[in-house]
């Protein structure tokens, strides 16, 4: 129990962050059918803004986090307007390639802003632990779970219940019909990008909490959202949550037990676990656990 439970909590913590990143990709995919590869850059910029507002400017932590999310929402909406809007009506493959371009540009910007430093986001959790007898879990893991799932829940509720959420879902089902009902489809795209970038900013902050801090290369962590969306199904928010948690826990358990039980696999084996899950998932269920199977015309 002393190993299993903390490993589980750590896995759920990191997994919920993956889920958050995956949801941020799903939101854009559902609105525009474009897989947004620029998410790692949005995430790292979000961490940068959090660090800027909290550590450098000295805003209280919650205020700084919200401010960073708002700032990134603006960046996301701007990116959509400048880079993606001209591509409406073009093949989605072309649009996905443009997001790779956006990734490169924004990563360069982030590198410039962050430089060689390691940023701290100024979170209040640090290495504090909650002790239950002999079992100790990190507060930060609990914070990750609560904040990620809370944010995802809020997005889900917005999409499900609000008028604007309904319009966004209508847009994702049939753009032309949505237009004919008076839905401003372009605004829905902007909104999806803004929401997605704000979620990515929150994820970036969560990645930067605890002992680590954030470097420019931390952006690569966001790549783990790819196995998550593939396992969960690219158009499903529930799928992203379940898959995020599964992959986080798998990674964490591998880290806890693999050195003991399978040392011949070498050090740091846990890092590739998400990608193993990705490969297996593609072989067994290519549209994911909760995704919509694609109808193929032969």
């Amino acid at each position: 129990m002393e190993v299993l439970l903390p490993a589980l909590v750590r896995g759920l913590g990191i997994g919920s962050t993956y889920a958050l990143l995956a949801v941020s990709i799903v939101v854009i995919y559902r609105a525009t059918e474009v897989v947004n590869f620029a998410q790692p850059a949005l995430m790292i910029l979000g961490a940068y803004f959090t660090s800027l507002f909290v550590t450098s400017i000295g805003l209280p932590f919650p205020v700084g986090v919200v401010a960073a999310m708002v700032a990134m929402a603006a960046v996301g909406a701007l990116t959509e307007r400048v880079a993606m809007r001209p591509l409406v009506g073009q093949p989605v493959f072309a649009a996905a390639m443009v997001t790779v371009g956006v990734l490169i540009v924004l990563t360069a910007v982030a590198n410039r802003l962050i430089g060689p430093d390691i940023l701290t986001v100024g979170d209040p959790w640090g290495l504090e632990r909650l002790e239950f007898g002999t079992i100790a879990i990190f507060q930060v893991d609990v914070a990750k779970i609560v904040l990620s799932l809370g944010a995802i829940g809020a997005v889900g509720l917005l999409l499900k219940r609000s008028r604007i959420g309904l319009a966004m879902r209508a847009t994702s089902l049939d753009q032309e019909t949505a237009l004919a009902q008076g839905v401003d489809v372009g605004r829905m795209f902007s909104l999806a990008w803004a929401m997605s970038a704000a979620l990515a900013a929150l994820a970036g902050m969560l990645i930067g909490t605890g002992a680590g801090g954030v470097e420019a290369t931390t952006a690569l962590v966001a790549l783990k959202a790819l196995p998550v969306i593939i396992l969960g199904g690219i158009d499903s928010i529930q799928g992203a949550v379940v898959a995020g948690l599964v992959i986080g826990v798998a990674e964490s358990l591998a880290r806890a037990y693999q050195p003991e039980y399978a040392p011949w696999l070498g050090a740091n084996f846990d890092i590739i676990v998400p990608y193993l899950v990705l490969i297996v998932s593609l072989m067994v269920r290519p549209y994911g656990l909760f995704g919509t199977p694609e109808v193929q015309r032969v």
Binding site: G89, R163, A180
Partner: protein, 261 residues
Amino acid sequence: MLVVENLEVVYEDVILVLKGVSIEVPDGSIVALLGANGAGKTTVLRAITGLLDVHRGAITKGTVRLDGDPIDGLDAPAIVRAGVGQVMEGRRIFTEFSVEENLRVGGHLAPRGVVAERLERILELFPVLAERRKQIAGYLSGGEQQMLAIGRALMAEPRLLILDEPSLGLAPLVVQQIRDLIVRINEEGTSVLLVEQNANMALSIADHGYILETGKIVMDKPAAVLREDEDVREFYLGLREEGAGSMRDVKHYKRRKRWLS
């Protein structure tokens, strides 16, 4: 009153689809726009409702005016806001949404306070939909889906309702229901522009009719006159004078020739 003047529409910069179409929909009337497949009926509607650019089309000449104000430069949401509602061809309901959600999307531009009230009114107008309020719209029958599409358009309380082939793929009895419904909507003060292949149904309720052929209006007459017109009876109503059988092909050719000249 909707006035379309000398409309010319080009798709993909090269395909000329409408060659100077002019139609009018006076307030409170039902106007039918008839024509065979490919005549350009749907294109006329897209030009009116601002959906051309989705299909890479553009208005190259002519104007569309609603009560004197040009609307041909506006985007689709602005045209809905100006009071033009439409039911697209093939119903195009959101199949994964519930009936109520479909209707709510139709009320997207309505002031927040009135949506619930309008929803109740629409459900009253369509009792079948009220019964299936929470059901997934994709499982409704074709006729119910058509009613849902009409109800959804009415949620915006349009002054002009444009219907693109509402009888498409429906049983004769359901077509009659839809027809009665259109009359009722019209009686409540909404002008209707009805695009149909089912000329019989359209002309039976319309005040005025236009016949569109390969991008041109070839006939522009009161519906009562069109119903009696020999050519319309033969080509669009499927009624033929006795003894004309053997000469059919010749006459067909001659008539087309005369219409287009």
